[in-house]
Homo-oligomer: 221 residues x 2
């Protein structure tokens, strides 16, 4: 055995690339709700055939990001107020628990990373970046929970409402408030107070949810 181990990561298939690109575009709101996703068009964008595109669309549907109708095609899925409300409630439940489980495992490096994202969030002026940094702040802490299945479900929920969360941050002046709440959560983590960090996380999510609800009710009538 003379050779260093090589990282033989799985090469990505065409379907993987298309899936990831579409997923990103949808959760960032680059493609609007209701927009039609035509297979041939997407295939040409990626210089491939419709087969990998169809696989990607099928996966997106499983994750609730698009809806499809036989022979009619796929459209980006929107969420009703009730659905958004439910997902925020769900997130509050799970993420509070994940936070509680994470606190005892937090080490210096993780806390420093979280601090970095926390500061970056406050400093950021580009609205498009807020959602991204906010998400990284939370997941950095959550990962310490050592609960991959919980994490998967958190990511999946976030994918569904990320677009709306960004709207909340951008249009409802939610950023300063979110920044303060991040500080409080991080302080609880530093103190090792799992119960407090958990409750603050829950409130943080429910606050954002309520703020978004009133914004959407205003907007949609």
């Amino acid at each position: 055995m003379k050779f260093a181990a090589v990282d033989v990561r799985q090469a990505a298939s065409a379907a993987d690339l298309v899936y990831e690109a579409l997923r990103k575009a949808i959760i960032e709101g680059k493609i609007a709700v209701g927009d039609n996703l035509r297979q041939e068009e997407i295939a040409q964008m990626f210089n491939t055939s419709r087969i990998p595109v169809r696989e990607a669309l099928s996966r997106l549907e499983q994750h609730g990001l698009i809806t499809t109708q036989r022979y009619k095609g796929a459209v980006v899925a929107g969420l009703s107020i009730e659905e958004i409300d439910e997902i925020f409630e769900f997130r509050a439940l799970i993420e509070a628990e994940v936070m509680r489980l994470a606190v005892p495992n937090l080490d210096r490096a993780t806390l420093d990373n979280a601090r970095g994202y926390c500061d970056a969030f406050d400093r950021e002026t580009d609205p498009h970046r807020w959602g991204e940094i906010n998400r990284q702040f939370h997941t950095t802490l959550y990962e310490a929970s050592g609960r991959p299945y919980y994490l998967q479900n958190v990511q999946s929920s976030l994918d569904r409402i990320d677009r709306y969360l960004r709207a909340q941050l951008t249009f409802t002046n939610g950023v300063p408030r979110a920044g303060r709440e991040h500080e409080a959560i991080l302080a609880a983590c530093e103190k090792g107070d799992a119960e407090l960090a958990s409750h603050l996380t829950r409130d943080h999510i429910l606050d954002a949810g309520r703020s978004l609800m009133t914004f959407l009710r205003d907007q949609r009538g």
Copy 2:
């Protein structure tokens, strides 16, 4: 307009049929963990081509029921003890909450249905049916919560561990105990005691989890 409206439900595509059939076979344990799923073989079983099969496999992978490697194919995914443990913990969290939310909405018909499944569970002698009835008993109650997103996540978690749950019921003499716990949960529902029903549900799941853990640790060494 002389004719009654007809329910023109979406006809299922070949991919849908293959997906559902494979999903059922996997969660019921008809296909063993590690078994290879060859596309051509499955295609012939369903009198179709490999294209719909590939779509079905792609969806199954998204749900964690199989793992695939490029150019190597798909195998039924097993769970480590740690993963099973985590999923039981996750279920306890979510299902307890769903139960709490359901109780205020339970009506006579739903309670009667649940009673039916509860009795059927106790009367059933075929081990293969226990898992199925157990699942129906719980979901019948959960549906009253009016939380489709929670429900989806519950179903997804159950899909992952259903095989192991059946093993627990069959091999660890868990049926009489589960039966008694069902009775207690149903009684709490009848009384309208959401808090009690929630706690009993949590304990019911954690009990089954612990029982399964010791069984698996014995078995796997």
